[in-house]
Symmetry: C2
Subunit: 477 residues, 2 copies
């Protein structure tokens, strides 16, 4: 027990300091290690395994919706980045520039890709000729670099891993359909696999992607009441196509510009999982993306038959991701370790259990202890993992609903933002001036105009003019 306590005591409580709690977990659960490269971290095997699980599900969802993977160069020549005006203005201030190859100065600077619209556009211009070549539904898994001043593991780092979908279509309608389809894929992934409820909606013009006609987003709420933009899907219209000259010959033999989209999610989703489900003992992982779903801890291992029984159980549970920890660490240390790592189920088995043909299962989320007959183990584990997955989602949804407030007046709005964590739903006139004023007065930003609109009142919460949309506002990561 002393070991266990010591281990747990080293973590800051989330209620005392959420930011420190977060960085404590990130270190103690072996997710991240800092490096001598400013703003760049090592994504350690346990975190990378979570990312691999996410990738594998998302990749299947992309392929089922007809997308193919591709790989573009990591460098973008300065002249190529500059072809679309809004785009370069949005990204140039935060890119890393390569100026030398070996000992030679380059004739033209190359930036390390912050996102690859310009490369995809160049490629589409080369390979699209006829309406028969459309649509092009491509996706890329890679790392990108944005030279951020302040960084936080997973949430904001100079380099991060992501996927970026880039598609080209014959019509504006098809591009819009694709944009929404992929937003729905992201929402489904977050809710069903990460157990994170999301609000789907459209970004305001101020918050949209550099070069997009419209940006759609899924917004989720962290345990501390701050919002996290968890995935975005952009409709580019034909803006990039015009800037890059991407044309196809239609059925009437006329030249037309293509219509494009892009959409992406990043390793920041690992940060979301930590901040939505974690507690003061560490990570709590949704079973569907946990690298280890169940850890077997043999008790009194020196006694004959215990290890053998543990192996037998592992083999029986081969349809789950199971690990045995037969190291010589104390049980207390192991309990803390696997709680810290958020393993959904712990299975304890000792000589007395073996005598009774049973074992003990302990849920990570509720800490409930369940004695299970070994004959019913497989079914029980399946049932519990499912229950943990849905409980996590329901708990997160409940938390979001409890911390989502409605503001009808600006005084109400300011008071809520100042005193209560969470989203604020309030009406907006559509003017960027009000958006700027709200940010200045409260630090809250427009998270999105949700697809599910409610008519809270007729007038903008800020200026009192006619309202155009209900907006989810919040402080954000």
């Amino acid at each position: 027990m002393s070991n266990e306590k010591k281990f747990v005591e080293e973590i800051t409580s989330m209620d005392v300091d959420f930011a420190r709690w977060y960085t404590d977990i990130v270190k103690k659960a072996d997710l991240i290690e800092y490096t001598s490269v400013k703003g760049c971290c090592v994504i350690r095997p346990y975190a990378y395994a979570i990312w691999e699980n996410m990738k594998s599900v998302l990749d299947s969802m992309f392929k089922e919706t007809g997308h193919e993977n591709i790989y573009m160069p990591m460098f973008i020549p300065e002249s190529l980045l500059q072809k679309e005006k809004d785009h370069v203005e949005g990204f140039a201030p935060e890119v890393a520039w390569v100026t030398h190859g070996g000992t030679e100065k380059l004739q033209e600077r190359l930036c390390v890709r912050p996102t690859s619209e310009t490369l995809f556009c160049e490629h589409y211009k080369n390979i699209i000729e006829s309406h028969r070549d459309l649509p092009k539904l491509y996706n890329q898994w890679c790392s990108v670099v944005r030279w951020e001043k302040t960084t936080r593991p997973f949430l904001r780092s100079a380099e991060f891993l992501w996927q970026e979908g880039h598609t080209a279509h014959a019509t504006a309608e098809e591009a819009q359909e694709e944009t929404i389809k992929m937003l729905n894929v992201y929402a489904k992934f977050c809710e069903e696999y990460l157990a994170i409820p999301v609000v789907k909606g459209r970004k305001t013009d101020k918050e949209k992607f550099a070069g997009a006609v419209a940006t759609y987003t899924i917004e989720s709420l962290m345990h501390d009441g701050k919002a996290l933009q968890s995935g975005t899907s952009h409709n580019f219209g034909d803006g990039f196509a015009k800037a890059f000259g991407i044309e196809y010959t239609d059925k009437d033999n006329k030249k037309q510009n293509v219509f494009q989209t892009s959409w992406g999610v990043t390793t920041r989703l690992i940060g979301a999982v930590i901040m939505v489900h974690g507690d003061d003992s560490g990570l709590v992982l949704p079973p569907k993306i946990a690298p280890v779903q169940l850890v077997i801890l043999p008790i009194a291992m020196h006694k004959g038959g215990v290890l053998e029984k543990a192996e037998e159980i592992k083999n029986k549970l081969s349809s789950f991701k199971v690990k045995i920890d037969a190291s010589d660490k104390t049980p207390g240390w192991k309990f803390s370790e696997y709680e810290m790592k958020g393993v959904p189920l712990r299975l304890e088995i000792g000589p007395k259990d073996i005598e009774k043909n049973q074992c003990v299962l302990v849920r990570r989320d509720t800490r409930e202890k369940i004695f299970v007959s070994l004959d019913e183990l497989e079914a029980k584990v399946a049932e519990l993992l499912e229950d943990i997955q849905s409980s996590l989602y329901n708990k997160a949804l409940e938390h979001r609903e409890e911390t989502t407030n409605v503001a009808k007046t600006y005084d109400e709005f300011k008071e809520i933002v100042a005193t209560k964590p969470g989203f604020v739903k309030a009406m907006w006139c559509g003017d960027v001036e009000c958006e700027n004023k709200i940010k200045e007065d409260t630090t809250a930003t427009a998270r999105c105009m949700p697809f599910e609109q409610e008519e809270i009142s007729d007038t903008c919460v800020c200026c009192g003019k006619k309202a155009k949309a209900m907006v989810y506002w919040g402080k954000a990561y």
Copy 2:
């Protein structure tokens, strides 16, 4: 037929100009598209799907041998790169340097990783404390950059995709065992999945990796008789550990340096597949890594029931990677297209076949036409794919054996290199002077000292002094 001819005519014959044949295939099979970034290509979906298949097999093999995936930053600070003397000398001349982040000049230049030994060493120094932390068996899938002057798709490019394994062990013996184990994994992968026979051996000191004690390699022979280094595995001894101060406390509580290895294969393996198996009609893909194993071409599609039958067959063959091409292109065009793409089997089905409850299978490798009853289709496809896989291997092995010559005297050696493609087996004294002279006189280099040594003679083929080893020599990519 005119379409088909036109399509095929556009490819240079391999006997006329192997280099042009290669670049023709790379373009016409939709593997690569050039970009405005010097030396960097787009890896198009068809090529990327081949890489994904390779990755998936290799990744399983790595995990089965106890390795975990991890992700390191893509940047290396100049001071970190310089810590190991031989290593920096080997790589500094060919790295890309980042000097600016946004509008600010960096205090220290960062290179884009050409390989990540230095980052792994920094990480190992941070996380290894005790003998209980060993071994560390890590692998990384990523892209790396080497500023090459002359580039060729897949074989030599400024940026390429690869995996790099990096391990740390308590003893020199364990490190050596790991080095050979992973070389064997690569050899097994090349032979069983890529159908490419390899020679396993050790590199001479001149050819070894910058910073390694010993480098082991698998060497394969391309159709034109040139050698391709297809995978390498390095034993670092404790050289990096000493340079970086990576120590662990052993069981007697004494500080010890770790012993390290690294090993990697790259997208150049796609180049190997093209150059070992391809022919004048295009790619020939081994079934085990083909993105499409069988393409169904419905004949006279306008006739009732043909498309339905094609779909029915596709469902029946769901254990294989099957695609139907129901586009309105001519059969001749389609034949050429899927030959170019190296799809192992083509299935033709038309109204007359349906009447007879049969279809036609055509092998890509031999072009043999086989009429198969639809009742036996699944078994026949499985059998044929297996046969194609082993035939490709046997054909490549035969070709290598036919083009491997033995030289006892230097005159013989020079004549063989000048007149015959392929490997030359000859004895070597171990002196770099002879290695240099041979390269100068013939352009052939020491590919490796094979594990399977033969005693061709007692003396070095070049200087006549006592021989130390038999070497495979050859011109190389």
